[in-house]
Every structure is written in C-alpha cells, then in structure tokens.
C-alpha cells in the first residue's frame, strides 16, 4: 500500500528537496539517483580528516561541543557528551556508525550512504580521531542494496588513495527494527545475533570487544564532516540556538510522492509539508517520528515546528525525522492497527511482556468495532498499553504503547464511528457504489 508507513519506499523512488529559503548542506549538489559522489569530488569540498592517534584530540570534541550537534537517530542527545564519556574510559574505544535505519518510512540514511558515503565515513574518522578509537564499524541496513554498495565502493576508493590510520569494517544489519538498537549492534559485532542484551553495561561503558563504544546515527556523523570543513559559526547559522543546524526528514503519505527534505531545525511543519506539495485539508493525522513515534492531530502538527522544544508540549519529538501524513480518506483506526501488527511482527521475541503484550495490543486494536465490542477493546487497550511501559529489555514495547495511545486520541472521531458499526473507508466504498 503506497500510503502506509509499513511498506518501505525503494531508495530510488524518494524525491529529494530542500526547505524554502534554506541553503542545503548535506544535500548540496547531491548526485542523482544511481549516482554517488567519488572520493576525488568529495575532497574538493571537504578536507581529509587527521590521522587517528591513540591519544585522541580533545580539540575536536570541543569543536563538536561548540557546534551543538545532537543525534539524528531519534534521541537528539548532544554528540560531544557521548564523545567525552567514551574518551574518558580506561580502554581504547571503538566507533560504530548506525546506518541500520529500521524505521520503514525513513530513507535519509540510505540516501546519504548511497550518494554521499564519504560524508559519513569522514565523520566517523573525525569522531575516531577525537576519542582515539581503535576501529570503526559501519553498520548498514541490509534492506538497502544501494546503501551497502555505496559504502563498500567508497571504502574501496579510500583503500587505494588514503590511509586514515584506523581499520574500517562494514557490517550488514538484518532488516528488523530492533536490530538497529545500540546493544543489538554491539551484540552483532561481537558475534551474536542482532538483538538487544541486558543492561548494564551500556555500550558507552563496555560495548564492542568490551571497549567503550561510541555509536552514532549515520546522518549525525555527516553533519560532523560539514562542521570540520565550514566551522561552528556556519553550522549554528541555521536552526535554533538550542538545536542548530539542519536535519533530514522523510515525508510520506498524503503527498504527490515520498520525499526526503533537508530543513533547518525549527522549520514550520506546515511550510515543509506544503512546500513538498501537500494539502493540509486532506490529512487526518500525522505520525511524527515514524512507527516508533507519536500521532498528532493535523492542528497540533501543523502549528508545530520541527524541534524538540516546539513538539514537547504535544508529547511528540522529531525522532529520526519521519513524518507520515495519513490521508483523510483512510481509516485512522485501521492505520493504527496495522502499525500495531508491524510491532507484533518486529518484536525480537525475547521479553514476555513484549511477545505477549504487543501481540495482544495488535489483536485488540484490530477488534475496535461494534461486533467485537469496541468499548471492551478500548478498556483492554488502555490497560495493556499502560501496563507494558518499561517492561522490555529495550524501549520497543513502550513505542507500541505510545503509538497506539496517541493514535486512539487523534482518531477519536473514527473510534466513535467504529463503535457505531461504521468506518471511513467502508463509508467511502458505499458512496462509490
């Protein structure tokens, strides 16, 4: 189904755009679909990173602190804090690039890895040089053949002409959401399956080969490369003081076509949507942050800016930058139920509350209709989604609860229709007949 966040967009089918008035950074002069910026081309724009030495270079950490880069994988955590804590460990650290991109409606990391892979590789080398890392692991989502090819081609180019002073290895991440969780990646690199492990230890204390491990989303490291080339003042000249710089958002749903757009942090959600051909009167809900995110009503969403601060009162967060706009002729209850089923399928199957609870949530969500007793199902969903919180080895079950609870609130009118035995889509088909 083209409109559903469950299905992946083929990387070549993503359109690429830039928010009105913004000078693109990561997407500047982006090679077209099928193309990839060569190392020679990349070096005309970005300087070669310093050779990695085991003592690290605190000046690079200070640079990233002044720039104010935050993580683009979902948590928005300040990058320099991670660098500092990993660098302060007793043993020589490791760097892991997280390009797993498990959110089905996200395409930004695969886009960068396939077309401008050297932006990410340079960023990883800068991070390694800052903290004195021993080895870099680039984890690429196996669902994107062009991302895998982009990174592998880029590394082959480097081997022929540059010596970063650090070994760089590629790991292919299985196409399962929790495989991209930090501890899953560490577990996989250490030879285990890509599923989360018990905490503690956290990877920044003890991760790959029991070393302190710095894990960054691929886009975050691409920003680091641009900062090292252009400086912190340049980086901070767009975005907000608290969230400087740009971010990549993946828009899909009620749009002429799915599009990856570079925006300044704090851009108006309405403007970004409309600039990409969207009509806000044709949207009944917006899923912000992807399947692991939060449903907002069109009013709340379109009044908000794409920043942590602006979205906070609504209960949402920019997360990994996925924005899915549900077309108003599609049933919101059915959409929430289908994403709940995605959760049920994607569970790693490790924790009882997740295995049984998420499946029960999906089953109840599909039964919100008059024949199954909608009120009974809604009471059950209220209990299941509050009980499941905090009861997994990772935050996956919490994500299911948040998506369902916010969806039931946003689609309250549709829920009322279901209780009376109707549904938007059914009514549509009746009209069509």
């Amino acid at each position: 189904m083209e409109t559903h966040p469950e299905s992946r967009v083929d990387p070549r089918d993503w359109a690429v755009s830039v928010a009105p008035g913004l000078t693109p950074r990561l997407l500047a002069d982006l090679p077209g679909a099928g193309g990839s910026r060569t190392l020679a081309e990349h070096r005309t724009l970005y300087p070669e990173p310093p050779r990695v030495r085991k003592d690290g270079d605190p000046r690079l950490i200070e640079e990233v602190e002044r720039a104010g880069v935050t993580g683009r994988g979902g948590a928005n955590f300040p990058a320099y804090l991670k660098w500092k804590v990993v660098a302060s460990g007793r043993r020589r650290p490791m760097v892991v690039v997280n390009g797993s991109e498990g959110e089905p409606a996200s395409g930004k990391d695969a886009l960068l890895m396939s077309r401008v892979p050297h932006l990410i590789i340079d960023g990883a080398i800068f991070a390694a040089a800052a903290i004195g890392a021993e080895r870099i692991f680039i984890c690429v989502g196996g669902h994107s053949a062009s991302a895998v090819a982009g990174i592998e081609r880029a590394l082959a180019e480097r081997r022929a002409s540059e010596d970063p002073g650090i070994p760089i290895e590629v790991r292919i991440v299985p196409d399962r959401y929790v495989a991209g969780e930090e501890r899953s990646l560490v577990h996989m690199i250490n030879g285990g399956p890509a599923i989360p492990t018990s905490m503690p230890p956290r990877p920044f204390e003890r991760g790959v080969k029991r070393r302190p491990t710095l894990i960054h989303n691929a886009e975050t490291l691409a920003h680091v490369t641009t900062i090292m080339a252009n400086g912190t003042d340049w980086y901070r000249s767009t975005g907000t003081p608290a969230e400087p710089g740009t971010r990549l958002v993946s828009l899909s749903g009620a749009l002429p076509r799915p599009v990856i757009c570079e925006v300044g942090a704090g851009a108006s959600l309405r403007e970004v949507f409309e600039a990409n051909g969207g009509d806000h009167s044709l949207v009944s809900g917006v899923l912000i942050g992807g399947n692991f995110g939060t449903w907002l009503s069109p009013q709340d969403a379109f009044d908000a800016q794409l920043s942590v601060a602006s979205l906070k009162p609504t209960g949402a967060s920019p997360g990994c930058g996925v924005l899915f706009f549900l077309p108003s002729d599609v049933c919101g209850v059915a959409a929430v139920a289908e994403i709940a089923s995605w959760y049920s399928r994607e569970s790693a199957g490790q924790c009882g509350p997740c295995v049984f609870g998420v499946e029960a949530i999906a089953t109840a969500m599909h039964a919100v209709d008059s024949t199954s007793g909608a009120d009974r199902m809604l009471t059950r969903l209220d209990r299941l989604t509050s009980e499941i919180r905090g009861r997994g080895g990772c935050k996956f079950p919490d994500g299911a609860a948040q998506m369902v609870r916010s969806g039931l609130a946003v689609f309250a009118d549709e829920v009322r229709l279901h209780r009376a035995g109707h549904c938007t889509t059914r009514q549509m088909s009746e009209v069509a007949v």
Binding site: G71, G73, G74, A75, N76, F77, L81, K82, V85, N98, E181, E182, P196, T197, S198, R202, F204, I215, N217, Q350, C351, G352, P353, C354, F356, G357, E387, G390, R391, G392, G393
Partner: protein, 83 residues
C-alpha cells in the same frame, strides 16, 4: 548480609531473562503483581524496611536470576547516553 536500617534497596526485573516463573510476586507481593501471562509488573520498586531477606531469597530462587536488587545510592543521577 544483614539489613542495615539506614539503607534502602530497589528491585527490578531483567525482562530479557525473565520467563514468568513468578517468584518475585510470591515473595514480594507488595512490590510485584503478575500480568495475564504471568510476567511481573513492578508496583513499587522500593523495598519496605525488613524485606531485604525475602527479596534475596526470591532473587536466589528465580530460575532465570532475573530479579535484581540494588542498593539505592545517596547521590542520585548519572549520565545516560541516547542513540
């Protein structure tokens, strides 16, 4: 280990290890209850005074060693990194 009166302890479950045997809820009903599949729900993560002995017994008898007991440190809060 003798329970010191001025010490507080916190209980938690390693859900990756837990298989729903229910030892925790048997020994510490004021801290745990079980969901409809038999997996624990933490009602209150702080042990009441005098309950450390039972908590330790439950932790030892949990076949998966999934019940964790932790002394509450006086200085709260440590840096947590996200992804």
């Amino acid at each position: 280990m003798r329970e010191k009166t001025n010490e507080r302890h916190r209980v938690s479950v390693d859900f990756i290890a837990c298989r729903g045997h229910g030892m925790c809820a048997d020994f510490l009903p004021e801290n745990f209850r079980l969901d409809e599949w038999g997996y624990p729900i933490v009602k209150d993560d702080t042990l009441a005074p005098g309950r450390l002995r039972d908590a330790k017994r439950a932790a030892l008898l949990c076949p998966e060693l999934a019940l964790k007991i932790e002394k509450v440190k006086e200085k709260a809060g440590s840096a947590q990194a996200g992804s």
